[in-house]
């Protein structure tokens, strides 16, 4: 015979209370399990989106895919491909799939603090929807990735700065030189002393400048004189009694002389014709040799005379033509 081991303590509605507690517990557990299943998208059709990334650091299963800051999907699983890339399978609920279009871009962002984020960007919502199991590249923008490069660059810059500020650096030397120059500049001759390197050299420059000044004054006088000479020359050459007028006259004289010369030459021609005749008739020649030679002597005197006249005329012209002479302006 069995008997209850616990001696019936009087508890009101014991069975009801325990039943209620059990029912409620079961209800809570079942509802919660259903809720987690719903949360994991068990009751909803989902599309799969495959993102291919070179590196999946920071990506974990269950990580959200956010669009405009709203989670529209989550990483379901990840695997390495044959060529070392990562295939991230993202489940996107059917009702959220409209945010993803064929032109959408997916990025993986990693900040200094906190986990990575997968984001979707869709600029044109009129493009066709992304099909199920579409494969897209996951662009990674990692702020921390650039830090080592940045540090290396900064290091190089700092080394340069260190080299610049060292006591024997070229900048310091340049500054020393600048100081020397500016110190000189404070001397009697100012900037000139600084540039030329000493007061004596500056002194020389000043002297040279003074001399150049006086030279310029003299040159001024000279150019005035040259001016007056030129005016006089002008008058003499181109004036009514000027050289040119006289040249004109001389040329007329020359013409006349040339006429004389032509006459003389004609005569010479005739003489030569006679001479030809004479050679043709040797006997006549021999007869007339005396007369011919007398004639030749006259001709020669006449030719000589003509040439002398021309010579004289040319001398005359030369004298009157001012520029033919060697005009030399002697500066004082």
């Amino acid at each position: 015979m069995e008997r209850a081991p616990v001696r019936a303590p009087l508890i009101k509605n014991l069975e009801f209370k325990v039943g209620l507690l059990l029912t409620l517990t079961l209800l809570v557990i079942v509802l919660f399990i259903l809720y987690t299943l719903y949360a994991r998208g068990a009751f909803e059709r989902a599309r799969e989106l495959i993102l291919v990334a070179p590196n999946a650091e920071g990506v974990s299963v269950g990580m959200p895919l956010s669009f405009s800051g709203f989670p529209i999907g989550q990483v379901a699983r990840m695997a390495l491909t044959e060529n070392g890339e990562v295939r991230i399978v993202v489940e996107v609920k059917e009702k959220d799939a409209r945010w993803l279009r064929t032109s959408s871009v997916f990025t993986l962002e990693k900040g200094f603090i906190g986990g990575a984020k997968i984001r979707a960007f869709t600029t044109n919502l009129k493009d066709p929807q992304l099909p199920d199991r579409a494969e897209r590249k996951l662009l990674t923008g990692d702020a921390t990735e650039e830090i080592p490069v940045l540090i290396a660059k900064v290091k190089a810059i700092l080394e340069n700065v260190q080299g610049m500020t060292a006591p024997d650096s070229s900048i310091n030397q340049s500054l020393d030189h600048v100081r020397t120059v500016t110190e000189r500049m404070t001397g009697e001759y100012g900037v000139m002393e600084g540039v030329l390197g000493g007061p004596d050299k500056a002194q020389r420059l000043v002297t040279a400048l003074d001399r150049a000044n006086s030279l310029l004054t003299t040159l001024n006088g000279v150019s005035l004189k040259v001016d007056s000479v030129l005016a006089k020359t002008d008058q003499r050459v181109f004036g009514t009694d000027g050289t040119l007028a006289r040249v004109d006259q001389s040329i007329a004289g020359v013409n006349a002389i040339l006429g004389d010369v032509r006459d003389s030459l004609k005569k010479a021609d005739a003489i030569l014709a006679n001479a030809q005749q004479a050679t043709a008739n040797v006997t006549a020649i021999t007869a007339d040799v005396k007369g011919a030679t007398a004639d030749l002597a006259t001709l020669r005197t006449e030719v000589d005379d003509s040439i002398r006249k021309v010579n004289h005329l040319i001398n005359e012209i030369n004298k009157k033509w001012p520029f033919a002479r060697d005009v030399e302006i002697k500066l004082p």
């Binding site: 069995e2 209850a4 303590p9 209370k17 507690l21 059990l22 719903y38 906190g114 986990g115």
Partner: protein, 264 residues
Amino acid sequence: MPFLASLLTRRGAATLNWLRGWNGLTRFGAGAVVEALTPSFYNSATRSVVQKQIYFTAWQILPGYGLFAALLSFVIIQIVVSKARDFGLSDYALEMTMRVLVLELLPLITALFVALRSGAAINTEVALMNINNEIKALREAGVDPMRFEFVPRVIGGMISVVSLISFSSIVALVLAYLVVYGWQLSGFADFTRVIAKVFVPLAMFGLILKALAFGLAVTVIPISAGLNAPQKLFFAPISVLQGMVRLFFVLMIIEVASLALQYI
């Protein structure tokens, strides 16, 4: 060297005793589980004991414990959320509170609470029954004490612990939602996403398994400790002490094991 010999003897005896205790505990626990899984075990008498155990362990303390759990959860959620906001990590605040409270802290605290309240009582009762030869008497009267005294308590204790953990966890989740999103429904989608992230199948399975293990430990260890006590009255407090220390140790082992399974 009589000192060393006696020391070694005493140590050896203590170790053997300790091992005997664990051995008895394991055998008792395995037997209780086998009994609980046998359908013929359940009849009106055992059901009555189970009901009473649930009544005393869960129903009686539910309001007080619920209030305590709510207060503790609220304080921890507030701290986590505000600190996370300070550090600019508010995206992770909700996940953090769920992991800390629902998955780890509340089950452990519930188990400790039940262990202190009911575990100690069961241990004392069984130890006294043992000392007073009541168990022997029951057995002689043809009543299997295992079947009518101990296993119903184990089952009741397990159900109580699971029930208390479920309610306190739901309270913590509702509070977390209210603290993070306030009295509005707009955060539901976000909340659902975090739930999906935290309560993955492995975590759910681990949580249920952990709750059951806590419930088992909280009743099995005190009963076993009471049964193993020598039949002398002054051994009763020692039995309770040993049982409680062992219980605490086992609870911590279960917690560490569940943490290691999920995060390592």
